[in-house]
């Protein structure tokens, strides 16, 4: 096999395209630190979404299942954090533990019966749980204060230490995203992760090799619910406010967009998707009335030419010159 200039150029193009979204994401995060202001807030929200999507990716990307209702777990934990810290002055960490437990309990109750069924039962059940939790957040006014929402939530912190500056919050969130991503990478490269990938590939073949499909689906569901709960609590502590709209169906739509744009099933996809999609409205704002049109067209083009998302952008140049 000869390494002709054409092939070397080809490989460089592949690698360059693969690195491009990472370069953009890193540059934007770095720029946010230096410039401060509005961009820090946008990037902070992107990091919170990244945590949510890293978890959703375990369930949808690794295990190949569908859920429309993970916003419910973010809402349960978010409201637990909000109520316990704002109304009862709990420590944020203790409040999060309660919120996480609540989210996992609900995930178990919903997942246990539905994950034993093949097909779309779980997707429908998750859609329902998302809507139910949303309604409860509106109606249970004595605790959630309905549409008004809860303010005066304590800032991000552990024990006596609190993060108050915007840059400090972004930095803390970036560390949490890094750890979340590391955990997902370890899951993927393990017996546990391989079992999930087997279920995504063929449930029958997985069972024929002794994998308890219902058990692993439930485990993946609980893991992703835990990530969603973490994202929910982080949000209320970063914004110091919560209302039902925060965890509405819109959250699911945005998360799906980020997951597919970034690259479902990939390790880097959730972070790339969260950062890039968060920036898109800012970029397309220049198109004024046509911004939705350009935004939609951009998404369609990306999904046609890079169906595995930004994390696999190098693949739009076909592999050549290698066996």
């Amino acid at each position: 096999m000869t390494n002709s200039p054409a092939i070397i150029y080809h490989d460089r193009l592949r690698r360059g395209l693969a690195a491009l979204p990472w370069a953009v994401a890193c540059a934007m995060l770095a720029y946010a630190f230096i410039a401060g202001g509005y961009l820090v807030t946008i990037m902070s929200f992107a990091m919170i979404y990244a945590v949510f999507i890293i978890g959703l990716n375990v369930f949808m990307g690794f295990a190949g299942q569908v859920s429309f209702g993970h916003n419910a777990f973010a809402a349960l934990s978010g409201y637990a954090s909000a109520v316990l810290t704002a109304t009862y002055y709990w420590d944020p960490m203790a409040a999060f533990v309660v919120g996480l437990g609540l989210a996992l309990l609900v995930a178990l109750v919903v997942g246990w019966p539905t994950l034993r069924l093949k097909g779309h039962y779980l997707a429908m059940a998750t859609l329902a749980i998302g809507l139910i939790v949303y309604e409860i957040a509106i109606q249970w006014q004595s605790v959630t204060q309905g549409y008004m929402g809860i303010s005066g939530i304590s800032p991000l912190g552990i024990g006596g230490y609190e993060v108050v500056s915007d840059r400090g919050k972004l930095f803390t969130l970036m560390i949490i995203v890094g750890l979340s991503s590391l955990a997902a990478a370890r899951l993927r490269a393990s017996r546990f992760g391989r079992a999930l990938a087997a279920i995504a590939g063929s449930e029958d073949a997985a069972r024929a090799l002794g994998i308890d499909v219902a058990h692993y689906k439930l485990a993946a569901f609980l893991v992703s619910a835990a990530y969603a709960a973490l994202a929910g609590s982080l949000f209320v502590h970063v914004v110091e406010f919560v209302s039902p709209e925060v965890f509405g169906l819109n959250m699911v739509v945005v998360a799906f967009t980020m997951l597919y744009v970034g690259g479902i099933g990939t390790l880097g996809g959730p972070i790339l998707g969260a950062v890039i999609v968060s920036l898109l409205p800012e970029i397309f704002r220049g198109f004024k009335d046509y911004q939705d049109l350009f935004y939609g067209a951009g998404l369609i083009l990306l999904l046609i030419y890079a169906p595995k998302g930004l994390a696999a952008l190098g693949n739009i140049v076909p592999r050549r010159g290698k066996a």
């Binding site: 073949a205 997985a206 069972r207 024929a208 090799l209 002794g210």
Partner: protein
């Protein structure tokens, strides 16, 4: 000694009796082939044995235990592992990882061991990888270890599915038409592999239409027609059996 014993196993779909009171004993040595015309009930019988379908009547006894109606994963854990007529690979995994999944039953560790990745976990992972590489070498796929499973040629995908099943260290391996879609050359290599599997002590029960593969590998042949067993015995006697010839040539029952 009998490893697998079917006793009056029956399965009906509405008015159609797909498998009709089959009795079959598979000894714990060698290769048994299950042959018969299309629609004879061979794959249904495989599904009944491996737990993907439940018999309406009869018992499936494996290694002295009644496994009738148990779920597939429990039957796999008992040491009975199958492959599929349409190859079912895990597309998002590499060739090596596919075989590593096969080691699932003989390792343990879930969420926490994945997260903590202790020394013990890493040690097990190394052993799993070593074993997977050995099995890929055994089926002749050592050169394709890091490829995506979906990038393999069809014949190689079949071999990968067999390697993956072997990773589960079955006592009995059920192969559903392993030679379907293989070239003459690949079929020959498959026959050698099947004999080698039997020699390593894993009993093989296979469904196959390719008579070269059947005659080159099987110690015993059972013939199904319209859900019934019409003949059983060593290859030399079965091929002379008038009922078998009639079933294959479609002359009606002799």
């Amino acid at each position: 000694m009998t490893l697998l014993s079917l006793q009056g196993v029956t399965r009906q779909f509405g008015g159609l009796v797909a498998v009709d009171a089959i009795d079959l004993d598979v000894t714990d040595r060698g290769v048994t082939a299950l042959i018969g015309p299309n629609g004879a009930g061979k794959t249904t019988l495989f599904n009944l044995i491996s737990g993907f379908q439940t018999p309406n009547a009869g018992r499936v006894v494996f290694a002295g235990e009644d496994i009738t109606g148990r779920p597939p994963e429990a039957i796999a854990a008992a040491g009975l592992v199958r492959t599929f007529q349409l190859v079912q690979l895990f597309q998002s995994l590499s060739v090596l990882e596919n075989v590593q999944v096969g080691c699932h039953l003989h390792t343990n560790g879930g969420f926490w061991s994945a997260l903590l990745r202790t020394r013990a976990t890493r040690q097990v992972e190394r052993e799993v990888e070593k074993r997977a590489r050995e099995l890929l070498g055994f089926v002749g796929l050592e050169g394709a270890t890091d490829m995506d499973a979906s990038a393999l040629a069809y014949g190689q995908q079949r071999l990968l599915e067999i390697a993956r099943a072997l990773a589960a260290q079955p006592k009995l391996l059920l192969l559903d038409e392993p030679a379907a879609g293989l070239s003459a050359d690949e079929s020959k290599r498959l026959s050698t592999a099947i004999r080698a599997i039997a020699q390593r002590g894993t009993t093989v029960l296979l469904i196959e239409h390719d008579m070269n593969v059947v005659m080159n590998t099987a110690d015993t042949i059972a013939v199904l027609d319209f859900g019934r067993k019409i003949a059983e015995g060593p290859p030399a006697t079965v091929r002379e059996n008038p009922a078998v010839i009639a079933a294959y040539l479609g002359v009606g029952h002799a």
